[in-house]
């Protein structure tokens, strides 16, 4: 019977049905970082359990890493103690740790694919909700909490209920100035922040097929912002070519065998879906969030909702968001003055993101009132970008060029907003307080749009602002 990739991966990794009806699922790759793991390791010690598959477990530090001065010990005592705890845990349990000295450190969702650890047909778990990123390779990747981190460490399995599958087809062509970020913001806006609860999202269609792996990762990354814990793209030649010769990918004749298996794991033609949504790529505009969740977005020259036009049940939420952001219903987000511009994160901190942004800022300068920073997603991204001279382009334009880390996406490190600052951000969440100031405000958009906003000092429409609009997908 024709099956989806989700079903195939689920079936091949299911160990047994537990007494309560959940499935015990084998996990092929476990990625660990400093924030959600210390308590899990502490429990292993307390209960006398070991790490079942240290060779399938890889660690890095990203959330708390300072991106300016990285000398140890870190100035922040807690950041230092979390780092020391992870060092000790990796040493004690024989886990490979991509630390600052490794040359391979970076945001966990950037380095997994970069090292070739992330592969099609795998199950992947990580104590971070943006683990859905790895689905870009046709893996089924779950964001999990600390208790499940403990379970995966101790057993290399976890207990789960299966998900339904919604196929989201994006067909046609994207217009110039429209990027993968706009595609996923558009999808979340359309289906809502809870529309994906209980579903895995399968992204498909001509637009997704033409996307690079970096772009597919941007799309899958934000699945969770639409409520879907899992998002994936069926593996194809783009996937296989990306993986060829990566350090942890199968090598030599194994690679060809792997490709054969990977192809066999893709959704079959005629597979049944629980739901199908079709989107015309040409209808997607450069999209900007105006509110306090990633579903509150609008085309950059569209108008914000008027509470009085909405059903009564929706009014309080919309009013709360407008009030917090200091916007009025009916206004445009274009022209909003910004204080900070942030390019980076697991959503948009990869080389192609930095290239797109550099193309926009080249020859321009950041507006005098704007603080702008570029934070590469990994040490390898930083090195590759520096080799191309992107660091110089950014610095000459007045951006700060930082070291790899999560930085201002969630402000568990020194990079944060202060007071009611407004940040044009290439990250993934615009929740109240997300960027480190309880009253700070976040406008999510594509890296190219952030770059343009940094230069203009306000939110602009990349399509009309720049004479040299980079081509879309």
């Amino acid at each position: 019977m024709a099956r989806t990739l989700f079903k195939k991966v689920w079936d091949t990794h299911a160990v047994r049905t537990l007494p309560n009806g959940q499935t015990q699922l084998y996990i092929g790759l476990h990625l660990v970082h400093e924030v959600t793991s210390p308590q899990a390791f502490a429990e292993l010690r307390e209960r006398g359990w070991g790490v079942r598959a240290p060779q399938r477990t890889f660690a890095t530090i990203d959330h708390i890493v300072p991106t300016a001065a990285q000398a140890r010990p870190f100035t922040d005592v807690m950041a230092e103690s979390m780092t020391a705890a992870l060092e000790r845990n990796c040493r004690d349990y024989g886990i490979r740790f991509f630390d600052l000295a490794s040359g391979s450190q970076g945001i966990v969702h950037v380095i997994g694919p970069e090292m070739g650890l992330t592969q099609p047909g795998m199950t992947i778990a990580c104590g971070d909700s943006h683990t859905s990123t790895h689905g870009a390779f046709g893996a089924i990747a779950f964001g999990i909490g600390t208790s499940q981190v403990r379970d995966v460490l101790a057993t290399q399995t976890m207990a789960l209920l299966p998900l339904k599958v919604r196929r989201i087809e994006v067909n046609g062509h994207l217009r110039p100035g429209v990027f993968a970020k706009d595609v996923i913001l558009h999808i979340i806006g359309l289906l809502g922040v809870k529309g994906g609860t209980g579903y895995a999202y399968e992204y498909a269609g001509e637009v997704i097929d033409r996307m690079s792996m970096d772009e597919r990762m941007t799309v899958c990354n934000m699945s969770i912002e639409g409520g879907a814990r899992v998002g994936y793209v069926n593996p194809d030649e783009t996937t296989f070519e990306f993986l060829r010769d990566r350090p942890y990918a199968p090598q030599g004749s194994d690679f060809d065998k792997a490709v054969a298996w990977w192809k066999s794991m893709a959704s079959d033609p005629g597979a049944a879906y629980d739901d199908v949504v079709t989107i015309n790529g040409a209808e997607i505009a450069p999209t900007v969030t105006w509110g306090i969740n990633p579903g509150q977005s609008v085309g950059v020259n569209g108008r914000l909702p008027l509470p009085q036009d909405l059903p009564a049940a929706e009014r309080p939420g919309i009013t709360e968001a407008l009030d917090f952001m200091g916007f009025s219903g009916g206004q445009q987000v274009e022209g909003t003055r910004i204080d900070v511009a942030f390019i980076g994160s697991c959503t948009n901190g990869r080389l192609s993101d930095l290239r797109e942004a550099a193309l926009v800022v080249r020859g321009h300068h950041v507006a005098p009132h704007v603080r702008a920073l570029v934070v590469p997603g990994s040490q390898k991204v930083a090195i590759a970008a520096e080799k191309e001279g992107l660091d110089r382009i950014f610095q000459e334009a007045g951006f700060e060029w930082r070291r790899a880390g999560c930085s201002m996406c969630l402000a568990m490190n020194p990079d944060r907003l202060s007071g009611r600052e407004i940040c044009a951000s290439s990250s993934n969440r615009n929740f109240k307080g997300r960027q480190g100031s309880p009253t700070g405000r976040t406008l999510l958009m594509s890296p190219a749009m952030v770059a343009a906003a940094a230069v203009a000092g306000e939110v602009v429409d990349i399509r009309s602002w720049s004479a040299s609009v980079p081509a879309g997908v």
Partner: protein
């Protein structure tokens, strides 16, 4: 692990939908290697914001002190996978969360630490929140076996997946021991995966 059959106590209502985990516990409080003390910072920024507007956040309202049941809207706990969120709520004293709907990772995390989460309809939630707001001393009683929530004279049905309900009732909500049981089956399953056992068996 202990069986969880009922939760009884006063209720505290957090109004609004899409209450995300950054609001439940802001990221700066995740800079810790234990879960201890998180209860002091639950809803911290919302509480400060309320004070700044001359209001009292429900978690600061003396009338709701000691509440055991948290009432929420739809998509409660959306956002990050931080288990610190249900940990902070439970450590503050909450024994059950009743909401219109939940975000998936929050829901799973809560079950894993033995914090039952159950859903009621939007209309019923409006009634329940109004009751909790107007009569903070009113006793609420969640019965997992009967799948009901009693608030004074009012009885409403609550829903949760059968697997979660049965895990909480049987005390199997901490799954690690179960997952370690019959481990030979895990090794068998892993042995069928070419990326675990080797690519040789794949025919090109």
């Amino acid at each position: 692990m202990s069986k969880i059959e009922t939760v009884t106590g006063h209720a505290v209502a957090i109004h609004g939908d899409d209450i995300d985990t950054d609001r439940i516990i802001p990221a700066r409080f995740l800079k810790t290697i234990t879960f201890e003390g998180l209860e002091d910072h639950v809803f911290e920024d919302d509480r400060v914001e309320a004070r700044a507007h001359g209001k009292v956040h429900p978690f600061d309202d003396p009338a709701h002190k000691g509440a055991a049941i948290l009432l929420g809207g739809s998509n409660f706990g959306c956002g990050s996978s931080r288990e610190h969120a249900p940990q902070a709520i439970r450590r503050w004293g909450i024994g059950a969360v009743i909401a219109v709907s939940f975000a998936e990772i929050f829901y799973g995390n809560s079950m894993m630490i033995g914090l039952p989460c159950a859903s009621v309809s939007e209309e019923q939630m409006r009634t329940l929140m109004a009751l909790a707001d107007a009569q903070p001393g009113l006793e609420f009683h969640v019965d997992l076996e009967a799948s009901t929530l009693k608030a004074g004279d009012l009885v409403v049905p609550v829903t949760m997946p059968d697997s979660v309900r049965s895990a909480l009732l049987s005390g199997d909500w901490d799954a690690t021991a179960l997952l370690l049981d019959r481990y030979e089956e895990v090794e068998q399953a892993a042995g069928h995966l070419p990326y675990v056992s080797g690519w040789d068996r794949v025919r090109v």
